[in-house]
Amino acid sequence: MTQWEPVIGLEIHVQLDTRTKMFCGCALSFGEPPNSRTCPVCLGLPGTLPVVNAQAVHFALMMGMALGCEIAPRSIFHRKNYFYPDQAKNYQISQYDIPICSGGRLGDVRLHRIHLEEDAAKLVHLGESGRIHGADASIVDYNRGGTPLCEIVTEPDIHSAEQARDWLNLLRVTLRQLGVSDVNMEEGSLRCDANVSVRPAGSTELGTKTELKNMNSFRYLERGVTAEIERQIALLEAGEPVVQETLHFDPASGRLSSLRSKEEAHDYRYFPEPDLVPLVPTEDMIGAARAALPELPADREARYLAEFGLAADPARLLAYEPQWGDYFERVDADGKAAANWVEQLRARIGADADPAASKVTPQALAQLIGLVGERTINAGAGRQVLDALVAEGGDPAAIVEREGLGSMGGGDELAGVVAAAIAANGDAAEKVRGGNAKAMGPIVGFVMRETKGRADGGEVGRLIREQLGV
């Protein structure tokens, strides 16, 4: 039976978080009344002209540098011509054969290009169909029209739905760290289409691809790509061809339906936008973009692995969520221990919370880690101290003192408690003597109850074995 290899490339549209639109001075819209964030330019009124948004160019340069792209010394805008009411001019100003960024790489996926363009307006179709065909009327809200977009196109380097999802998440956290976009899939500031094909494993030729649209969450992306891979494999195994087409993912049914076949494809009649001059980044623009680059999640993850010796999961978690990574780095303690305790804090206050705004200062957490490390308190008591810190803040040592959580030493007091525990758990003691070390549990539990958790677990075990002569 043939083994099949999926081949996946992604096309991502990112709404840039600029102050104004791509080609006019209108502020970006966040749910304002329809058509209230418009002007003669973004409405395409006769005689108006576009002017390129410098901040959008700055963001595109930052993205290009962060992702290792080649920055075009001179890129140009083109007009993409098609009639539809969501384009006020009936053409979209985009980039075509010379995009601002080419090549590059993020993680294990190569990038093909990044280019700048303008977003379309929002159409609302009134009536039962919900689509333009059969609608009672269609109305247009031009607030979104002209919002700056970066289109990022990958090479077909992805080979599973899970990899597609994980890579898109890496892109998301990278762009968020760059501060160029809200990157919110549900709200549409990050949109992803996937080109999917399959081929016999080991083949170097690409199969016929389909384009998947409308997967507006990470889960839908994974489900949509999975469904399409399965559909294509089933077709090929039945000896039927895959037809090149655009497919629409329906989240309700999890199914894909055809949007339009290639035969109806538009001729966009691209030509250089004569209302704009070529985009030539100056040394100052390049320098400003470079100066604005933060450390990126992938770099931070690598640093956490190498510098702090963290395991893969905590390294990724802290690197991908910058507020947690930043906090982690301010905890002056052994890296692994710090990562462990930061994760515990995260579990308590929630992943979306900002730890820097919590009552637990990095200094307090470091002090707590120190108390546990030097066995002044044991781990269980440490968790109680963390609970108290989350609730009221303050000084860990003072909390230990106040709550009486200090570890009992290994002295006579503890030995007495252990003796009492053995006496009270005769059956268990017999089993331990008989060589079953695991039977120690009830005895340890007794000690911990008696000492309110302050006893050191290792010391308790040693005393039990000593007293039972094993």
């Binding site: 009124l45 006769p46 005689g47 390129v52 009411p85 009649r269």
Partner: protein, 473 residues
């Protein structure tokens, strides 16, 4: 009163500044003339009373007529098209704003070929404009309304746009001065676009001094037009009365075949005058100029096909009734809203940009455009200016070429090369042929307007043309 209206704009502005003339007299006098115009030169005339103007403003309150395709806030701006019938923009074009700020209030909007596509102003949805020299003849186009208004004396001066000759050719046919500036010298913001890489605004005036004055007030970099460029220096009023040391090149490709004998005679006589003023006159070569018209009729329609896509009935202007669905609304609106010439060019341009044809048509035309620019660059090594007849003929009869688009296109034979190269050209009246004005074109390197205006001024003085037929009528 009629004395004030017979003054050039510069002279009138000087009198206003000196306190010898009330600008309200100019406003009321020209408004009355424009309202009584019988050449269909205007699509709208202000009915406002004289505004208070700053007497020290550079343009001294001398009112200006503006081609219909300039967006003017609250005032009909229809670009000669039914598809923009009744359209009143919410903003004003930069060039018009600058003129208003410099003290030239908006007197009227002038008739034009629809979307500036034409050479006779017969392609207007609002009827043809006639030539003040002979009302059975066309005024040229596309800015025929502006040219006729100035020639008839119903406006002291006017502005228009030139894409392939639409200022220079009507100026020639109406016996006035028309300047097409360097591409980028005047902002295009608010000019309803025909062909974005070629469109350029400029003045229609009674003499060269007025042209310099009006051009200086409208020119300059505009942050709303990325393709606009700051001038290298201020626009000077021309003073020159001789052409000592000026080297004129006569491109043989544009001054022989296809030019009417009467036009050629006036052209040759003007060259003699230039020599008398001290100029040297030598033949020069623009080898690719004969291909300019072909390249132009690919590039301009291609850009137009995209620029005019926005007229779809969705947002403003005309919308056809009874549409069944979206596509039907588009096709009916555009079928009924556009005239025949506009539809012809949209189809030509759409074809030229189509997948599989782009390289052969649009791409090749752009290469020809580059070669034409290089021809001019080579010419500037030996010459200060290139001179040609502005148009191959004098004003022709209404209807004479409306059924023959190619004959109509040939009107721009001598003006299109400069448009493709983006260089400035000026047409001044050089005399009469068959009792009708003939235009003489001077073209210079990019941003040579000051020198160009100076040379035109010297020639104008030697020619002594009387560009005021209404005074003898």
């Amino acid at each position: 009163m009629s004395d004030a209206l017979s003054l050039t704009a510069a002279a009138a502005a000087a009198r206003v500044r000196a306190g010898d003339l009330d600008p309200a007299e100019l406003w009321d006098g020209y408004r009355a003339r424009a309202a009584a115009d019988d050449h269909n030169a205007f699509t709208w005339v202000s009915d406002a009373g004289a505004a208070t103007v700053d007497r020290d403003a550079p343009l001294g309150g001398v009112p200006v007529a503006v081609k219909d395709l300039f967006a003017t806030q609250g005032v009909p701006s229809q670009a000669g098209s039914r598809i923009l019938e009744g359209y009143r923009p919410p903003y004003t074009a930069t060039a018009v704003e600058r003129l208003t700020a410099a003290g030239a209030p908006l007197l009227a909007k002038t008739n034009q070929d629809e979307f500036a596509m034409g050479s006779s102003t017969e392609n207007s949805a609002y009827g043809p404009t006639t030539n003040p020299w002979d009302p059975t003849r066309v005024p040229g186009g596309s800015s025929g309304g502006s040219a006729a208004a100035v020639a008839a004396g119903s406006a002291p001066w006017a502005i228009g746009t030139d894409t392939g000759g639409s200022i220079r050719q009507p100026a020639a046919l109406c016996g006035i001065v028309g300047l097409k500036p360097t591409y980028g010298a005047v902002s295009r913001y608010g000019m309803i676009a025909f062909a974005s890489s070629l469109d350029q605004a400029g003045p229609f005036t009674r003499d060269v001094t007025d042209a310099a004055l009006l051009f200086g007030a409208m020119a300059g970099k505009d942050k709303c037009d990325s393709t606009s460029v700051g001038l290298p220096g201020p626009v000077e009023l021309p003073r020159r009365t001789d052409l000592q040391g000026v080297r004129l090149g006569v491109p043989e490709e544009l001054s022989g075949e296809g030019i009417e004998p009467g036009v050629l005679a006036s052209f040759t006589a003007t060259l003699d005058l230039a020599r008398e003023l001290g100029a040297t006159v030598e033949p020069c070569k623009l080898p690719h100029a004969p291909h300019a018209l072909s390249a132009y009729y690919l590039i301009a329609p291609a850009e137009a096909s995209s620029n005019l896509a926005r007229y779809d009935g969705v947002r403003y202007g005309f919308r056809a009734d009874g549409a069944r669905d979206l596509l039907h609304m588009y096709t009916e609106t555009r079928e009924q809203g556009f005239g025949a010439e506009v539809k012809r060019r949209i189809m030509l341009g759409t074809y030229a940009l189509s997948s599989g044809y782009y390289d052969a048509y649009y791409g090749r035309a752009q290469k020809v455009r580059t070669l034409i620019s290089r021809d001019f660059d080579t010419a500037w090594e030996r010459f200060d200016f290139v001179v040609t007849p502005t148009a191959p003929s004098v004003a022709f009869a209404l209807g004479a070429k409306t059924d023959d688009p190619l004959a109509m296109y040939l009107n721009d034979f001598c003006t299109v090369p400069m448009s493709l190269a983006g260089i400035p050209g000026i047409s001044i009246p050089s005399g009469l042929s068959e009792g009708l004005p003939v235009g003489f074109q001077l073209a210079g390197p990019a941003f040579s307007e000051n020198a160009l205006l100076d040379a035109a001024h010297a020639l104008e003085g030697a020619i002594g043309f009387d560009s005021a037929p209404w005074r003898t009528a």
